[in-house]
């Protein structure tokens, strides 16, 4: 049977993929790192909490709800906050600091909700885990199956959207060169809004699955943010495929390396788990700042030059 450690790692990596693709997509369309991104997962966590503990329904009903809430908030923030700031000529740094402000506001709202639930209904509204509410299929926890399926669907979906649909092509055009795309008749604002809608939704979705396997708290999203940024940077921050690969690599490394280090150094290592994605991030920035994209392009360039040398010799 599959050891629990592997289940843990795959589950975490799936969630990271859902989050890091979103982070990368917002980065590509708005050109800023969205520090509020992982906090959207916090909304998902509390949607699951509401569905399971207050409405007493199946936790998977929360997934579409969380998607819609995250998506709605993402689109709202892009149109109202980022859009307005851009109109008034905000710089990239001030846009980024505004995402930090959004993070603080969203976090405060989640905390207010958690306080409210605790004080009026007497439920434990922080540090909860709902593994007991999950179903099992062939000795596998349901959330593992669902999250793997979702990550697979996401990869397939993004691939199809980006290569086969008109919307995907206009999205790529917007990412490549916003000004040129708008000259060619692409509705850049619409494309960006839809991107933020999707990414907010994905983050909400990831959040809604999280408490079925890991501990949920208002701050969970904030803690995951560093792993998400590391995945995205490892993937080259400018590539959705890179983010998927980065998410899996960081997720698996984070869980597996922590356990391996715990075996050799002792149990105290587990508290410093966050330092693993951080170290990877620092190494990537030092050695290959463009992540996988840079590495692959480097190989391609070298391959091309080799081929041309061969051709010249002939």
């Amino acid at each position: 049977m599959i050891p629990p450690l592997i289940k843990d790692a795959v589950m975490y990596a799936n969630l990271l993929v859902l989050l890091s693709t979103g982070f990368t997509l917002t980065y590509l369309t708005a050109k800023i790192p969205n520090f509020a991104h992982a906090t959207f997962a916090g909304i998902g966590i509390y949607v699951t909490f509401t569905v399971l503990r207050i409405w007493k329904l199946n936790p998977y009903i929360a997934a579409p709800l969380a998607f819609m809430m995250g998506a709605g908030l993402g689109a709202f923030l892009y149109v109202v906050v980022i859009g307005t700031l851009k109109k008034y000529g905000a710089t990239l740094v001030s846009l980024t600091i505004s995402t930090l402000a959004i993070e603080i506001i969203v976090l405060a709202i989640i905390n207010i909700y958690a306080d409210y639930v605790r004080n009026t209904m007497g439920l434990i509204s922080r540090m909860f885990m709902f593994r007991y509410a999950d179903f099992e299929f062939m000795d596998l926890p349901g959330v593992l199956i669902v999250s793997t399926a979702l990550a697979g669907l996401l990869i397939l979906g993004f691939h199809l959207i980006l290569t086969k649909t008109k919307f995907g092509i206009s999205m790529r055009a917007t990412i490549e060169d916003t000004a040129l795309a708008s000259v060619l008749g692409v509705n850049v604002e619409l494309v960006s809004t839809i991107s933020w809608f999707l990414t907010g939704g994905l983050a909400g979705l990831a959040g809604s699955l999280l408490p079925l396997w890991l501990q949920g708290s208002p701050l969970t999203g904030e803690r995951i943010l560093i792993s998400v940024m590391a995945s995205s940077i490892l993937g080259g921050i400018s590539s959705i495929y890179g983010a998927i690969l980065g998410g899996y690599l960081i997720g698996l490394t984070e869980v597996l390396a922590t356990v391996a280090l715990m075996d050799t150094l002792g149990a105290w290592v587990s508290a410093y788990r966050l330092l693993i994605p951080l170290t990877v991030m620092a190494m990537v920035l030092l050695k290959a700042p463009r992540g996988f994209v840079g590495i692959i392009e480097g190989i391609q360039a070298r391959g091309l030059s080799l081929r041309s040398i061969v051709r010249l010799k002939r």
Binding site: K31, L85, I104, M229, W268, L285
Partner: protein, 354 residues
């Protein structure tokens, strides 16, 4: 009747917080406002300074006075601090010496920390630097909250009262010392940005390529500014710890120590130290008012008031950036010693017209 004692306490409280955050805001202004380096890891340096204070003050004083034989610094922290305080209450010289020593150590260590934290991304685009510094700040807090011998992990550590010899005047005295240091930092940064070096910083901010072309090393300038900024921010952490006489590792969050200084600089107007000071005053007054009056609301709302405070100040930042992106006091043309400001103003307006 106004209670005089209470009023003094309120004034001391506000002055101390203004002084501590003024240091952070001016340090950030030097980095972001004047040099265009967006330091999202201010919490890193503040935490660095505070952790050094918490970890070293007690241990150094313990060694000097030879107290606490056979006691463990962490688990017998309260007892050891009491013993040290008894010695310090009639030893002004040693108190001041330790104070200066701790500041010096914190500055040196944080210069190194600032260099290490910014090193991976200093050559890259600003957004990489923002992400890296923010992640590094979280990492330092993580180490602080988990490594028990440093500042007690999830518990806290007491800082010996280095100014116990001041007796009844201690609260006022410490407040004045913190304020004086804050003013010195303000004047030092002001002197720096009006010097030729300040013009180099603005050149790096406004046009990297031009700065490179005239032979200035942009990466080196940025690194230096981050190191100076980290040193300044660490001072805020040190003074905050001496003010509270405790260090709680978990307190150095990115909301309190990175976001608030950014809000102050944005409110006051980046690249203007007077503006940063005005912003600090406004934000601190707003925050303190909420804290003083929060018990009026507490009875009516079923959640903690602190969350309302965060929503309000978060919204304030977004509104300020929409309504008045240049801040309360906009950037003035660089003062150049020997050139009248009026002439500069005229030149600037002419260059804007063309």
């Amino acid at each position: 009747m106004i209670d005089i004692g209470l009023l003094t306490n309120v004034i001391i409280d506000i002055l101390t917080f203004v002084a501590i955050y003024l240091i952070l805001a001016v340090g950030l202004n030097l980095q972001y406002g004047y040099t265009g380096v967006p330091n999202f890891g201010l919490a890193l340096s503040a935490a660095g300074g505070a952790y050094m204070t918490g970890a070293l003050t007690g241990r150094i004083a313990m060694t000097i006075y030879g107290v606490g034989e056979g006691l463990d610094f962490m688990s017998d922290n309260i007892k050891i601090t009491e013993l040290i305080n008894a010695h310090l209450s009639h030893d002004p010289l040693m108190g001041i010496l330790i104070f200066v020593l701790i500041i010096a150590i914190a500055m040196v260590i944080n210069a190194g920390l600032g260099y290490i934290a910014s090193h991976p991304a200093i050559k890259l685009r600003a957004d990489y630097l923002m992400m890296t510094l923010m992640a590094m700040a979280e990492a330092v807090r993580l180490i602080g909250t988990n490594y028990y011998p440093l500042v007690g992990g999830t518990f806290w550590v007491l800082v010996p009262d280095l100014f116990a010899w001041m007796g009844d005047m201690k609260r006022v005295g410490v407040c004045l010392i913190i304020f004086a240091i804050s003013i010195i930092v303000f004047l030092a940064v002001q002197a720096m940005v009006t010097s030729p070096y300040g013009r180099l910083l603005r050149a790096v901010r406004d046009n990297e390529v031009t700065a490179e072309c005239v032979g200035k090393d942009v990466v080196k300038t940025r690194t230096r500014v981050i190191i100076i900024g980290s040193v300044i921010a660490s001072l805020a952490g040190v003074l905050y710890s001496f003010h509270l006489q405790t260090v709680l590792a978990a307190a150095f969050t990115r909301t309190d120590w990175t976001f608030w200084p950014w809000l102050m600089v944005m409110v006051g107007g980046p690249s203007n130290n007077i503006g940063a000071a005005a912003g600090t005053l406004v934000v601190i007054l707003a925050r303190r008012m909420i804290i003083y009056y929060k018990h009026y609301f507490e009875a009516y709302i079923p959640f903690e008031v602190i969350w309302l405070e965060q929503i309000m100040l978060g919204l304030a930042l977004i509104l300020i950036m929409i309504l008045r992106p240049q801040g309360l006091i906009p950037e003035k043309p660089t003062r150049v010693r020997g050139l009248p400001t009026k002439l500069l103003q005229k030149l600037r307006e002419e260059s804007k017209e063309t």
